[in-house]
């Protein structure tokens, strides 16, 4: 069905998120929406699915004007959405989540669990996701949860499927998988709307594009008629030059030495999540860690940062001194910093302002707050990292994703760390912010910082790292210098078994 938006405008207090946007999404095609963080992409999708019933303009489905007063009405009209943020109920099972709000019933209003489980199993198989329908979602890792979100949209038999950054937490294999499914849907004549910041996948999957900038539509057309550079120019408003990493010759000084690291499974006795991990990190080095979803990379960083003192064993030297961390506090004191995977849940206190978030790890230096110093510190990072905000007293909740990520980074840089852990630092970040971040990382290592970088994006790992470790099933299965690494090598090493 042809989905059309006419003259859509939407304002939030102080922000005009969409300004007179008109566009069309064609059946049998993948229609992508591009734009920087905060351009209004998600807002548009939320209007199209009844999440925001208040807006100006009109929505047309096959020429018929519709106005959705609720999520349910949009569902009934045959529109399904995969939201940017994970929207699953952690305590419910996969099957219960998939059918939430549209359960199957037997006689007497009884839930038909058998049938729901059967259908769940089928759709999971289609996605090649090897989990039982009765697994509680809280047991799944982020990537698996994202696949469950996708499964939910597939299950509805909707004519229009909107996907807001469905691949942000997926590694390449799963992305390929998803693309395969999307092609099937296309073949069935469904209308797909797709948002992603990953340029390379867009050229693989998309047919039609629309670019938003600051809530205004600035371009639309067929993918085959455009180039990456052109799209970036539309999004950013200027050319972006991607600089390859200049190989700096670093010192041979090892700042962190990890030996024989083991981490027990939290629930299953005798099982290990991480096993026998040893590596060195040198001063001024970016050590990339690649792996498929669930390889244990996050857990490795967490363990080194003192988050699992009860169930881990390891020998660790920081600058030649043996250390054991029982809490993040101890790790921070020895010069470690950790940009976590999930900036909202773990990185920021969203209800606090930028300055307060940045100063949080260094407050303990004095019992009294020093508002002036705090403000200056924040100011300097807002300038240095080009954080887009009206003031350093802006609440983090009101920042777009990329800018939030920069605040997390600023927070950790303010501790003047020797070693920086970064876990998927560019997830959900637009291309401009990403490049700014890359530049910054290069500058930081040039100044002597060492970085342990976990990423599922091969291009990112390859551009940034001096050396790359590959993990699979909790072990190190590959160790490459950047000169010998390429996509094939990394993927081969990352495959389990």
């Amino acid at each position: 069905m042809l989905l059309e938006a006419r003259n859509i405008s939407k304002s939030f207090p102080g922000v005009k998120a969409l300004d007179d946007v008109s566009l069309q999404f064609y059946p049998g095609q993948v229609n992508v929406i591009l734009g920087e963080n905060g351009a209004g992409k998600s807002t548009l999708l939320k209007i199209l699915t009844g999440v925001y019933p208040q807006y100006e303009g009109s929505i047309l489905l096959d020429g018929k004007v519709l106005r959705f007063g609720s999520v349910r009405e949009a569902q009934r009209a045959g529109i399904a959405i995969i939201h940017q943020e994970l929207n699953l109920i952690p305590q419910l099972t996969v099957s219960e989540n998939l059918f939430l709000g549209r359960e199957l019933h037997r006689e007497l209003g009884l839930l038909d669990s058998t049938e729901m489980n059967r259908q769940t199993q089928a759709v999971l198989e289609k996605l090649q996701l090897d989990i039982a329908p009765q697994t509680p979602v809280r047991r799944l890792k982020v990537g698996e949860q994202q696949l469950v979100e996708i499964a939910r949209a597939l299950l509805t038999d909707a004519e229009v499927i909107l996907m807001d950054e469905p691949t942000s937490a997926l590694s390449d294999t799963e992305i390929d998988n998803l693309h395969r499914i999307i092609r099937d849907l296309k073949a069935d004549g469904k209308t797909i709307v797709y948002i992603s910041h990953k340029m390379d996948e867009l050229f693989r999957i998309a047919d039609h594009y629309t670019v938003l900038r600051d809530g205004v539509m600035v371009g639309t057309g067929k993918m085959e008629d455009t180039t990456e550079a052109e799209l970036i120019r539309l999004m950013v408003g200027r050319e972006l030059k991607i600089e390859a990493k200049t190989l700096v010759t670093q010192s041979d000084e090892v700042v962190m030495r990890v030996k024989d690291l083991d981490l027990d499974h939290p629930y299953v006795r005798q099982r290990k999540v991480l096993e026998n991990i040893s590596f060195n990190l040198k001063r001024g080095e970016i050590l990339g860690i690649f792996g498929l979803m669930g390889a244990g990379r996050t857990e490795l960083l967490e363990t080194l940062f003192g988050l699992h003192p009860g169930r881990s064993r390891y020998r660790l030297e920081i600058e030649g001194t043996a250390r054991q961390f029982k809490s993040p506090q101890e790790a921070i004191r020895q010069g470690l910093a950790f940009v976590t995977e999930d900036r909202k849940a773990e990185g920021l206190i969203l209800g606090m302002d930028i300055a307060a978030n940045i100063s949080l790890p260094t407050l303990s230096e004095t019992p009294m707050l020093q508002p002036q110093r705090e403000k200056e510190l924040a100011r300097s990072y807002v300038d240095q990292l080009a954080i887009k905000t009206p003031s350093e007293r802006q609440l983090c909740r009101n920042l777009s994703g990329g800018n939030q990520q920069k605040v997390v980074l600023a927070k950790w840089l303010s501790t003047r760390p020797k070693i920086l852990f970064m876990d998927e630092p560019t997830r959900g970040i637009d291309i401009k912010a990403k490049h700014e971040l890359y530049e910054l990382m290069k500058q930081l290592v040039a100044d002597g910082l060492s970085i342990l970088l976990v990423s599922s994006e091969i291009p990112e790992i390859l551009t940034l790292s001096d050396r790359i470790l590959v993990m699979a099933e909790g072990r190190i299965t590959g160790d490459f210098s950047v000169t010998e690494a390429d996509e094939d090598h990394l993927l081969k090493a990352a495959l389990p078994g």
């Binding site: 999520v71 305590q91 419910l92 939430l100 019933h105 839930l111 009765q134």
Partner: protein, 324 residues
Amino acid sequence: MNLTFNNQLLRKSQSLIALFLLCLLIALLSDKFLTTSNLWNVLRQISVNVCIAVGMTLVVLMAGIDLSVGSVLAFSGAICAGLIKFGFAFESLDLFVGFTVLGGILGAMLVGLLLGLFNGWVITRFVVPPFVATLAMLTIARGLTMLYTKGIPISNLGPGLEFIGSGWLLGIPVPVWISLIVVLVFVFISRKTAFGRYIYAIGGNEKAAFLSGININRIKLAVYGLAGMLAAIGGVLVTARLNSAQPNAGMTYELDAIAAVVIGGTSLSGGVGSVTGTVIGAAIIGVLNNGLVLLNVSPFWQQVAKGVVILLAVIIDKMNRKEA
């Protein structure tokens, strides 16, 4: 399949173990404990808390709380007694309606439902935190009870109501029957219906539930309404048992109900727990109260002991669950 199933079993068996240990301890110390008549006592005594706590379970599963149940119990109990004894007079219309016992009970349940719906309305319509909305209702419903009864008990309500409070049916006390039916109905609702599923979903992640097209406000309204209605059933039971409606009935019952819910393994942050767990929680509290009396613990020490046992029950539960 296995994972969830085992987990639920485990979760419940934790509280069951605590209950079992408590019973064992008391039985070892007093030979009166495991007598038939005493066990019926315990069951009859917990029946009111079971009714209230089942409603509280739904509310807490939804990450809410209802502090008003004790006052709602008192008001509905008074209404039940008042309707049966005095009927309902529309003076302006010169109309008088008499009520049977059943009529009185249904009237009380309706009043409980309405007060509960009012809670739900305030919570959903004005986005007032449940703690505050129901705290206000705690005061308001108590005041209404005092106004309705003028602070004086309504007594001598006849043999019909008395039967509900003190009678036996097929060898089982009537209040036990009633609480049993309440439990079965709500175990069924919470486990087998979409409504039940939505309660868990809202408690687990309200935003996600909303985005799944669930009408959050309607579910909340219904749950607070049901909690009020169940408190009213508790009110009928208390009134029937004493054959008298007391204006200060039900004071601090909300705390016992919440304790039963939490000891039974339902998380105050919502999404996790079960009605059957709550029943076990209520049983633990009931056995504890019974045991402290049987064991001759002095009333002042009883309070200390009660607090300590509640703490221990929750801690044991936590520790076992972590290991498992």
